[in-house]
Symmetry: C2
């Protein structure tokens, strides 16, 4: 993609994660759905924060994590998302820019605070998220710079953008501009409950060819096709005639096209600490491979490598340079 | 100490850590003294933040880390320190209270922001700190609640309190009240450059019996006695006739009294990630032992255990319950 300024531009909710280790009984007491993301208002976010243990604050946001991961592989990246000009918004901006991502979306100077996601990590490493969208609700299609989209090989979108009302238009605008310029559009389905909220719209996006690549985990894919059987869901996915990428936690991933399905194992790890960002970083590695015109199996191997790094520490952003990790692992990105 | 409400009350700078992995060449470029703590003004803090990589934000502060560590061992603890009522100050307050520490110091409602410490962690795990004291400069002796000090078995003070001008009076007031109530007073020397700034005052505190227990690492002790030879420094320390606790990184620790010197090995670790908080958590374990009337060698073993936990992840606060860790290790606290 030598005629591009960026390999990947991401559009997503700009969120700061507030991460605390939690016992399982707190989830039960607070009626939280383990492993899922729940939207909460500010009062509920404050109430949950009050009952959480000591927290670590790290920039997050699904597509933002993916873009930072791709940048860490050395890929040329940009991000579009809305923060408020508060302490958390400044931290988000610092973090994403400091790894070389182009991030020029104007911060909101009034209105709700920068979005925060309360991440409760249980002893099994699973994360349960409660998100206050805050300033993300002010992301509109005006924030989508057509030049930036046209200058990017892949436009990467997160399903969570369907939650803040105006962001949906930003999503559609970005996809339209990308396709108008002959670029590719990718989506992550984000969360099985998110799929449940917007199933018809996501299926329409797939079937009207708005999307070229779709990332899903097994739960999201089963939710998309309303089946308890993964193979049934995969067969339906194959019939869509797109590039489908399905992550199955420790069982690895599947690359699904109309022609074939390739299974790629997960990368071995020593200690599972916090699964936050596993799917986001898998997508980062896969996109890094696509940006370098790697074959799909190689892309999935890079995804597995990045996911393995991020689940061995707290937080959804890589702690070491993923390009170095790829070199050490004998992979190239 | 059954007539006490708290086993340990800590008095220190209330600081939020901003931690980033850094290459050694950045330290050289910015003229930072590896392994040490440097005081910076807000403009310099902003400039260093701008050149730092993506950061993790976790509550810190030397004495606060120690008190949180002691609380994690199940010890009854309280903390006195000054934050501003901003986002960072709220995070500090949440984190210390959520682990069960009594923290009632009124936040500043105007003036400088909550203190922040920019922590650069190099690939060898060593940390180099640049601290903007901010709201800590507003800690005064009015913040020292006499009832709280009298109700605590040990008053634990950090040498860094000598930096903000008014905090020194708070330190002396707390020590006087504690001794007046027949309690013990402990000090950590904090940093070799801090010792260099206040050597005469620290020696006077030791020699006029303001202090019953002094924690130091090998560099701080050598700085205190202005010698390059550790044994010379230890001999001088023994002659002070206090309880001295000397940490020597991977070489373990020494418990020094006039009568004897006991060496206690470091606790074995798998991966050194970030040494931030090693000394603070050693003190936490030692104080937890003292609170339970353990012998000094057992106290030092608990210190070694807590230090080993904190250097295997990013940040200076324990990520698992130290009382559980002690039980697993066959130690009691």
């Amino acid at each position: 993609m030598s005629d591009t300024r960026f390999d990947v531009v991401g559009l997503g909710n700009a969120i700061v994660d507030v991460i605390a280790r939690t016992e399982d009984d707190l989830l039960a007491r607070e009626n939280l759905n383990k492993g899922s993301m729940t939207l909460v208002d500010e009062a509920r976010a404050d109430q949950l924060y009050a009952v959480m243990g000591p927290a670590t604050i790290i920039s997050g946001g699904s597509a933002a994590n993916t873009i930072v991961g791709a940048a860490s592989f050395g890929v040329r990246t940009a991000f579009i998302g809305k923060v408020r000009n508060d302490e958390a918004g400044k931290a988000f901006t610092h973090d994403i820019r400091s790894i070389g991502v182009h991030f020029g979306t104007a911060p909101a100077t009034e209105g709700p605070a920068t979005a925060r996601c309360l991440v409760m990590v249980t002893p099994d490493g699973e994360r349960t998220m409660s998100t206050y969208l805050g300033a993300c609700q002010n992301l509109t299609s005006d924030d989508v710079d057509p030049e930036l989209i046209r200058a990017s090989g892949i436009t990467y979108l997160e399903g969570y953008l369907w939650d803040p009302p105006a962001a949906k238009q930003a999503f559609v605008k970005a996809a339209d501009i990308a396709h108008g310029a002959g670029r590719n559009v990718a989506l992550t389905l984000s969360d099985s409950f998110c799929v449940d909220r917007y199933r018809d719209e996501f299926l329409a996006l797939i079937r009207n060819k708005t999307l070229d690549v779709v990332f899903a985990n097994q739960h999201e894919l089963k939710s998309l096709y309303q089946t308890a059987d993964l193979q049934t869901a995969i067969n339906a996915f194959r019939a869509e005639d797109i590039l489908g990428v399905v992550t199955c936690s420790a069982e690895g991933s599947l690359v699904v096209t109309r022609e074939s399905t390739h299974a790629v194992p997960a990368y071995p790890i020593e200690n599972l600490v916090d699964t936050t960002g596993a799917g986001d970083l898998f997508a980062a590695g896969f996109l890094a491979g696509l940006a370098r015109d790697a074959d799909y199996v190689s892309c999935a191997r890079l995804g597995a490598l990045a996911a393995a790094e991020v689940i061995q520490h707290v937080g959804a952003r890589p702690q070491i340079r993923l390009s170095d990790l790829a070199t050490q692992a004998g992979l190239t990105a």
